[in-house]
Structure formats: C-alpha cells, structure tokens
C-alpha cells in the first residue's frame, strides 16, 4: 500500500498530461451545429440571377451549401478549391451572406462560378435560421435535404478528404 502511494504523483501527472495533450488538439472555436442530422429550414428566396428558389431545389443528390461573402477574407482563400470541386462534379449551392449582390456577381464573373445558384441572403435571415455564425461555412446535404455536416472556416482538400468524403461514402454504403 505504501509502495503504491509513492506512485500517486506519477499517476496524477500522467492523467493530467493526457488531458492537457487532448486539450491541445481541441479547437475551442468548434461549435457543433444544431442543424446536423436535421433537414434544412424551409425558405423561398431570390438567387443572384433573380430566380425564386426554395429548400426543395437543394434536394436530389449529395450537395454542399457554401455560405460566403465578398467581404470575407477566408472566402477568397477557399474559392479556388470550390472551383476545383465543381469541376470534379460536386454539386455546390451558394448562400451569399450579408453581401452586396452586385459585388457578388462581379466576383463570380472574375473568379469563376462553381455554384449551381446563389441564394441572396442580404439580411442574414436564412443564415440565422441555419445557425450560421459567420462566413465561410459549408454544409453537406444528403439527397433528402438532411444536413449531414457543417464545417466552419475555409474548405480545402484536407478538410474535404477528412470530413466530407468519408461521410458521403458511409451514407452511400448504407
């Protein structure tokens, strides 16, 4: 018993070290989305092209919904990757969040347009209903319109391979 007691500081140290080590790899900004495994909120809104669309128009296949704006620095970073994904055949819908629609149209003509269409959310009302906290954010939708995943921050090849692809594969498998 007394021999065992000698090891108490070591055990305490090991437990603390394990917890702190785990803490280092946690992102304190990470916030689970309340929308995950729930359907998108219903809406009917205008696109940048002036068409009226609703949540039903986002259903039908696996798709990602990208929340972006021309004022958002990280959106500049991720745009090239979105163009690449679109070229690979990924269906991308956009939500132009609290932005000037004309600035957004100019951005798409200059940098390429990876989106099927862009919903104009100038007031941020749709964003609020979806629990958006800022741009960029990217949602993965299943064919029936359920939100499988929400990613905050820029989307890149690493995030796509680590978070999005496995989910799509698993969902398609069963």
């Amino acid at each position: 018993m007394t021999r065992l007691k000698l090891f108490i500081p070591l055990i305490v140290f090991l437990v603390l070290a394990a917890l702190l080590w785990r803490g280092l790899s946690l992102d304190p900004n990470y916030m689970p989305s309340a929308l995950e495994s729930k359907p998108l909120p219903t809406f009917s809104m205008q696109t940048l092209a002036g068409e009226q669309v609703s949540d039903a128009d986002l259903r039908g296949d696996y798709a990602i919904v990208n929340v972006w704006a021309t004022w958002c620095p990280s959106c500049h970073v991720e745009h090239a990757y979105l163009n690449l994904l679109a070229k690979q055949g990924v269906i991308i819908f956009g939500i132009n969040y609290k932005d000037d629609p004309q600035a957004a149209r100019d951005w798409l003509t200059q940098r390429g347009d990876p989106y099927r269409f862009n919903i104009v959310d100038q007031e941020g009302q749709l964003g609020l209903d979806m629990g958006v906290t800022g741009a960029p954010e990217t949602y993965l939708l299943s064919p029936d319109g359920t939100v499988l995943l929400r990613h905050q921050g820029p989307l890149d090849a690493r995030v796509w391979a680590r978070e999005f692809e496995p989910l799509i594969q698993r969902a398609e498998a069963g």
């Binding site: 916030m31 609020l128 979806m130 629990g131 958006v132 800022g134």
Partner: protein, 157 residues
C-alpha cells in the same frame, strides 16, 4: 476640474457599452431583453454574452431578440428559438442531460473526493496525537515519584 474628468470618464464607458438602442413598447420587454442578453452566449465568441459582444452575429441575435419580444413570445419560446438554431452552446446555463453530466456533477464529485482525502488524513493522524495526550495512566507509585520530582524541581529553583 477633477470632477469633470471623472464624470467624462464614467460617461464614456457607458457610451461604449451600449452597442445599439431599441425602443420597447412595454417596460417588461426591456427588462427581459436585458436579462436575455446577459444569459445568452454569443455563438461566435469564446466567452462573451450577447450584451458584451460586438460581433455581427451577436448584433443580429439582439435584433432578433427584440423582434421576438415585441411579438409577445414567451421566455420558453425565445430559448427554444435560440437553441434550435445555435444549440445548447448559446446557453450559459445548459440543461442537465447525459452530455453535460460531467459539467454539472464534476464540482460536486471533486468536493466529495477532497472531503474523503481530508477525512482520511485527519483520521490517520488522530491516534498518534491521542496516544501522547490522553494515554497517561499513572500508577500510584508513579504519581508519588512525579510529585517528588516536581517538589525537587521547585526546591532547586
């Protein structure tokens, strides 16, 4: 002169704290608005409530809160509105459920562990001290010797 400086200082702090102003049709709405902006957490911030944060999303939520209050929504409606969009994260007082069990029970468990440790230490120490203090059973002979010694001691002094 000093008074003017102090008053100016106090006023400037007050002006900074107010991000935007809302008109309320009922005074009770204002009280509930202030209460809600204190207990709701800004979803974009590490540790700021809606009242303290000047993040755009916090301003949006304050606007939304004002709208909901003016629509006559109850406290439960408003809490449900926020949680359905931003999850339990927005509540500074999260509900007791399986996921938050550690959060709620943790301090109590820690306190209990501490009490057990302290109790154990105290109990272990007591027998040694009582041995010394109370276990003084002197026989009549010993008592006599002690009295003799004390008397000698006095005589020497």
């Amino acid at each position: 002169m000093r008074w003017i400086a102090i008053v100016a200082l106090v006023l400037s702090v007050a002006a900074q704290a107010v991000v935007e102003t809302y008109e309320f049709s009922d005074d009770s709405y204002r009280a509930r608005y202030l209460e809600f902006t204190q207990v709701l957490r800004c979803p974009k911030c590490q540790n700021q409530n809606l009242a303290d944060s000047n993040a755009p999303i916090a301003a949006d939520l304050r606007k939304e809160l004002h709208r909901l209050l003016e629509e006559g929504k109850t406290d439960e409606d408003i809490t449900r509105f926020m949680v359905s969009r931003y999850g339990d994260y927005v509540l500074y007082d999260p509900p007791l459920e399986y996921r938050t069990l550690v959060l709620w029970a943790g301090p109590v468990v820690m306190l209990l562990i501490g009490l057990v440790v302290v109790f154990g230490l105290v109990r272990k120490r007591r027998p040694e001290s009582t041995d010394a203090a109370i276990d003084v059973h002197l026989s009549d002979r010993e008592r006599e010797q002690l009295a003799q010694l004390l008397k000698d001691d006095k005589g020497n002094a």
